[in-house]
Amino acid sequence: MAEVVLENVKKIYGKNVVAVKDFNLTIKDKEFVVFVGPSGCGKSTTLRMIAGLEDISEGTVKIGGRIVNDLKPKDRDVSMVFQNYALYPNYTIFKNIAFPLTLMRIPVEVPVRDKEGNVTGVKIKTRKLTSEEIANKVSEAAEILGITEYLGRRPRELSGGQKQRVAIGRAMVKDAAVFLLDEPLSNLDAKLRAQMRSELIELRKRIDTTFIYVTHDQVEAMTLADRIVIMKDGVIQQVGTPTELFDMPANLFVGEFIGSPKMNTFHTRLERDEEGYFVELCGVKKRIGGERGEALAAKNIEPQDVVMGVRPEHITLSNHEDKEAIPCVIGVRELMGSSLHLHVKTATGEELIVCVPTAPFTLAQIAKLVSGTRIYLTFDSKSTHFFKEETKVNLLVEDAPVETSGETQQKQEELPHKKWHRIS
């Protein structure tokens, strides 16, 4: 129930190792924001800075208009769910969920009386919650999460999914302004993860507060988020809705990170003639018309070397009559059930992944799509993405951050403080 504003937030370890660089973001009230990125990109560090578990080296963090830089975690009005659940092993589930409540003090108005006993004013004092209030809140949370029957047990007697529910319950009862989740589903197996994901979406409707969710899983990011913040090496690459990130990635990194299987890329040259833009792919001339062509023309993009990206699911099978179709040979095929992933090789040696939905094919046709078969591939020009060859920035996105090289990443491996942690 509060806006979270991060202004020029930086995290520097030791003297010059920058884990988070100049992080600027405004998270609206009741928004569900997901920080996503590969490991070591600073997403967890940023979350921990918001929680107060990590010092903020530079910049300010505001929660509900209040600068919280120097506040302790407990005074920031946040609650948090950890990847490894972090349940208190010596307490029962009930006491685990009740723990934040037992520590909480709520304000109460106490009448101030003069010597004769007349009420002269009101003073604000704080008091602890009564055990009845605590029990009510705990059972309410337990009911929402479906863990009522486990309240008497201890954490070690629960399965992973149940533990994570308890952890969410413990974070829920506080009614905090901001709900922080640090890779909450990463310790669960794939099936349970999918189930918990949909439960989180349900839960979100009921809790209705500001959510900040950290994950390295782009599927979680795409399905849960109102807005995704995609990070790399401590720098925000793009902020946007899942659709924006999918349809208009700001740079090649975002393009490749979002979507599975990974976006296919071609190093080629964007050319222009009287008829419009075109590229030459594997010896085939492909016109970039329609929406994409118009957008390029509107920006009057010069012909240049580009990295062209096409998502595997946007590539379709075609036939030899199609002049723009690229002939390929199937290398590996992976039947996923609803779709078929084909790893193919073009005549010029480029390797692509094609994701073909199985529905439009007959079984006999699918049986034919095996290693060694020659196929023809085509794609709609509206689903192409063009990134500048040197900077890997999307030609159609303004102010996109230049994709950083892997250097920072390597530096982090050699950090003295990392060694330090290992010894301890």
Binding site: F82, Y88, F99, R374
Partner: protein, 347 residues
């Protein structure tokens, strides 16, 4: 342009709405003309390992050599004999001291183990005619105080070094390690002089000794720190976000989880004064009132004449001293083992 590159079948897809070329329709009609690649079968053949020859090889071995069971039996016998010998060697002095303490026919050192006349004379003498009750009281007092204060210090140091990251933390840990390597007796004279100045020697030695024991207690933080390290840090973090102070985290979460290590630390603190001889006798100087049990019992037999008179009483004292500690250990053994091993292995 690259048609020659491709060998094998061609798959051409025509959207359903469009009219398919006649040839394709014909091809689809005659499904069995398409051969599915033989690759899967090859793969299956590759995946099935040839297991049978291995089994045969094992059987052949069995026939040639002594069976594994016989080997184990021989090895176990040898190990058990060695262990039995070690047990006897180790327990003999204890049995000896118990037997000596019950000997009534003489009080000096003798050349046999089994007493000729059994009785409690030595124990009665120990409590009635010597200063032993006083020494026992001194030691008990030192043990209890040291155990309490040392545990508090040690756990605090261990928790801080395990959970907090501050400048000089590593340096401090190394420093403690290096200091711990110096024998404590190096400072014996200095400590005596200080204690003398504060009137904490001779009859007051127990109080001085408490200070000395407790002063260095933080240095034994290793095992407790190792144990705290095994408790996930995110537990602390979760509690901090939940609103707990560091103090509350330590007492409400970490301590209940660390029962074995707390008991281990208390035990170690309690036992220290019982076994200390050098420091205790030095600090008490010649004042018998200030002795702990070790120094006092030694004083009973410190000349040949006294030895002749008090040797069996000395043994009885040894048994009495061993009793409380043995009982404590038996009661707390479960925790003690968990504490030592729990601290040693990071989980």
């Amino acid at each position: 342009m690259t048609d020659e590159l491709f060998e094998g079948e061609v798959f051409e897809f025509y959207p359903a709405s469009e009219e398919k070329p006649q040839e394709i329709v014909e091809m689809e009609a005659a499904e069995d003309t398409f051969e599915i690649s033989a690759m899967p079968e090859v793969a299956i053949a590759d995946m099935v390992p040839a297991e049978e020859p291995e089994e045969n090889a094992e059987e052949g071995k069995k026939k040639k050599h002594i069976s594994q069971r016989t080997k184990n039996r021989i090895l176990n016998t040898i190990i058990h004999i060695v262990l039995a010998v070690m047990c006897v060697v180790w327990i003999l002095p204890f049995i000896g001291i118990v037997f000596e303490s019950f000997r009534c026919e003489s009080t000096g050192v003798v050349g046999y183990i089994l007493p000729k006349q059994w009785g409690f004379d030595n124990y009665v003498r120990l409590f009635k005619e010597t200063n032993f009750p006083r020494w026992f009281g001194n030691t008990l007092m030192m043990g209890v105080v040291t155990a309490v204060v040392q545990t508090a210090f040690q756990l605090a140091v261990a928790y801080v070094l395990s959970r907090f990251r501050f400048k000089g933390r590593k340096f401090l840990m190394n420093l403690i390690l290096v200091f711990g390597m110096f024998p404590g007796f190096l400072t014996l004279i200095l400590l005596y002089t200080w204690m003398y100045d504060w009137h904490l020697t001779d009859a007051n030695a127990p109080y001085g000794l408490i200070i000395i024991y407790v002063a260095s207690s933080g240095m034994g933080y290793y095992i407790a720190k190792g144990f705290f390290d095994t408790i996930s840090k995110s537990l602390d973090e979760a509690a901090r976000v939940d609103g707990a102070t560091r103090m509350q985290i330590f007492f409400k979460l970490i301590l209940p989880l660390s029962k074995p290590i707390v008991i281990y630390t208390i035990l170690m603190g309690f036992m220290g004064p019982w076994g200390d001889f050098v420091m205790a006798s030095f600090m008490a100087n010649n004042a018998a009132d200030g002795y702990n049990v070790a120094a006092g019992l030694q004083w009973l037999i410190d000349t040949p004449a006294k030895k002749n008179m008090n040797y069996t009483t000395f043994c009885a004292g040894g048994v009495v001293v061993a009793l409380p500690i043995t009982v404590l250990f038996l009661l707390l053994q479960k925790y003690y083992v968990a504490g030592v091993t729990g601290g040693a292995v990071k989980g």
